[in-house]
C-alpha cells in the first residue's frame, strides 16, 4: 500500500530531514512511527499526504509514484489517505455532521448517501448523538473522535495519524488507539506517529523508529501483526 524506496528529504538551507528511508506497509497493516521530536516523523507523513515532495527516492501509494504527480492529481491522492491531526483541524463554525460530511461533499456524493455514511461513521466513533453539536462544545477526546470520523468517512485505504493522542489522558488515548486497530482489522493500512512509547508497547504492533532522519528499526520488516515489544 505504502512503499518508500531510499527516500530522502532535504529542506532548503538545512540538513536532511529524512535520509535513505525504505519501508513497506501492506494493506491492512498497522504500524507506529516513533522517534524524538525532529527525527522526521512529520516529514514522513507529509510525504505520504503529498504536502511535500521527496528530494530523492520514490514514494509509492498503491503502486503509484506520488513524488512526481501533477498538482491537479494531488487532491485525488489525498482522498485515499485519511489524516488525523493532533489539533483535530475541525471547522468550528460547522456542526459535527457538517465536519464529518466534508470529504463526501468534496467527492460529490448525493445528499442521501452523505447522510447515511456520516451517521455510520459517527456511530463507529460513538458520537451519533452529537451530530448537531458544534465542535467547541465537545471535549478534547470527542473532538479527536470527530476528526477520526471525518478521516474514515469516505473509506480510504490508508489512515495516517500525527500524534493523535498528544493531548489526551492515558485512558482516552488507549480508547482512540483501539479505534484505529478496529479500522486496521477491516483492511485499512494505519500509520500512527507517536512518541508515547508506553502506549505503543501496550498496543503491540510494528514500530518504525526514526533517528535524525534515518530509519533505525522496523524498516524492511514487513509482517502484519509483527510487534516489536
Amino acid at each position: 500500500m505504502i512503499e518508500f524506496h531510499n527516500v530522502s528529504k532535504r529542506y532548503p538551507g538545512s540538513c536532511d530531514a529524512l535520509s535513505q528511508v525504505s519501508f513497506k506497509l501492506s494493506s491492512g497493516e498497522m504500524a507506529f512511527l516513533t522517534g524524538h521530536s525532529g527525527a522526521g516523523k512529520s516529514t514522513l507523513l507529509k510525504l505520504i499526504a503529498v504536502l511535500i515532495r521527496p528530494t530523492n527516492g520514490q514514494v509509492l501509494i498503491n503502486n503509484e509514484n506520488i513524488g512526481h504527480i501533477s498538482r491537479r492529481r494531488i487532491p485525488y491522492v489525498r482522498r485515499n489517505v485519511g489524516i488525523i491531526f493532533q489539533d483535530h483541524k475541525l471547522l468550528f463554525d460547522r456542526t459535527v455532521f457538517d465536519n464529518v460530511a466534508l470529504p463526501l461533499v468534496i467527492s460529490g456524493l448525493p445528499h442521501r448517501e452523505i447522510g447515511r455514511r456520516v451517521r455510520a461513521s459517527l456511530d463507529k466513533v460513538g458520537l451519533l448523538n452529537k451530530e448537531k453539536s458544534l465542535p467547541i462544545t465537545l471535549s478534547g477526546g470527542q473532538q479527536q473522535r470527530v476528526g477520526i470520523a471525518r478521516a474514515v468517512v469516505n473509506k480510504p485505504p490508508i489512515l495516517l495519524a500525527d500524534e493523535p493522542t498528544g493531548n489526551l489522558d492515558p485512558a482516552l488515548s488507549l480508547e482512540i488507539m483501539e479505534l484505529f486497530a478496529q479500522f486496521q482489522q477491516v483492511g485499512v493500512s494505519v500509520l500512527i506517529a507517536s512518541h508515547d512509547l508506553d502506549l505503543i508497547s501496550q498496543m503491540g504492533h510494528r514500530v518504525l523508529t526514526l533517528d535524525e532522519g534515518r530509519l533505525t528499526a522496523g524498516g524492511m520488516h514487513n509482517a502484519p501483526q509483527g510487534g516489536l515489544r
Binding site: P75, Y76, R79, I106, S107, G108, L109, H111
Partner: protein, 307 residues
Amino acid sequence: MISPGVYIARHMQVMLATLGEMVRSPMSNLMTIAVMGIALALPTGLHVILKNVQQVTAQWDGAAQISLFMKQSVTDKQADQLALILKQRQDVKSVTRITRSQALEEFRKNSGFGEALEALEDNPFPAVIVVFPTEESDNLLTVQSMLASFKERPEVELAQLDMQWLKRLYAIMDFGRRGIWVLAAMLSLSVLLVVGNTIRLAIQNRRDEIEIIKLIGGTDAFIRRPFLYTGFWYGLSGGILSWLLVTLSIWLLSGPVSQLATLYDSNYSLTSLDFYGSVVLLCLSIFLGLVGSWIAVSRHLDAIEPE
C-alpha cells in the same frame, strides 16, 4: 465520478449557500454592493442622458437650411429669378423668399430699432433666399457641397448654413460619448478592484477552512466555487442597485425636464434605461463580479498550502 445531476445540484447548493451567507452578514456586503452600484450607475446614467439628448437632436436633424444673402445691388426681381432657378435643382425641396422690404418690416417689428431705421434713406437689408434641401440630400456632406455651389453665384454675397451649431453639438456629443467610455472603463476597473479586494478578505477569513479542504482532497475548483458565486452575487446585486439608482434619478429629473419641454412647446419626456440596456448593465455587472473574484481567487488561493 460525479454524475451531471449531482454536479448541478452541488452548484445550486453552493450558489444558494453563498447567497445565504451574504444575507446573514448584510452590513459588510452592502458596502461592497453600494460601491459597485454607484460606480456603475455613474456611466450608465450619463449614457442614458446622452441618449436622451441624441433623441432630441435627432428631431432637428432634418432642419438644415441654407440662407443666401444677396448683394445690395441685387433687386427683389433678380432674387425672384434666382429663387426659381434654384427651385429647379434636384437636391432642393423648397425655396422661401424674403424680400428686402419684408426683411426691413420684420426687423422693425422685432428689434425695437424701428425709429433708428426711419433715419436711413436706403433699405439696408439684402434680399434673402432660404433654401431647404430635399430629405435625401439632407446630410452634412451634400449640404456642404450645395453651400459651396451657391457661394459661387455672382448674386450671392453670403451663403450660410444654419447647421453649423448642430454640427458643433454633434461634435460635443461625440466627445461626451468618448468621455463616458473612458469613465466607464475606469469605473469598471475600480469595480473589479473592489470585488477582488472583498473576495481577498473573504479568502483570508476562511484560510483555515481552505487549508483543511485542501488536506482532505478538495480540488482547486471545489475551493474556488463559493468565492466565484460570491462574486456573481456581488455583480448581480451591484447591477440591480445601479439600475435602481439610474431609474430613480431619471424619475426625479423627468418632472423638470417635461416642464422645460413645455416651455419649448414640446411634449418631450425623458426615457429611462430600456430593456436591452438593462440586460447589458446586469450582464456587465455580473461579468465584473466574476472576473474580480476570479482574479482574487487565482492570486491568493495558491498561496494557501497546508503545512
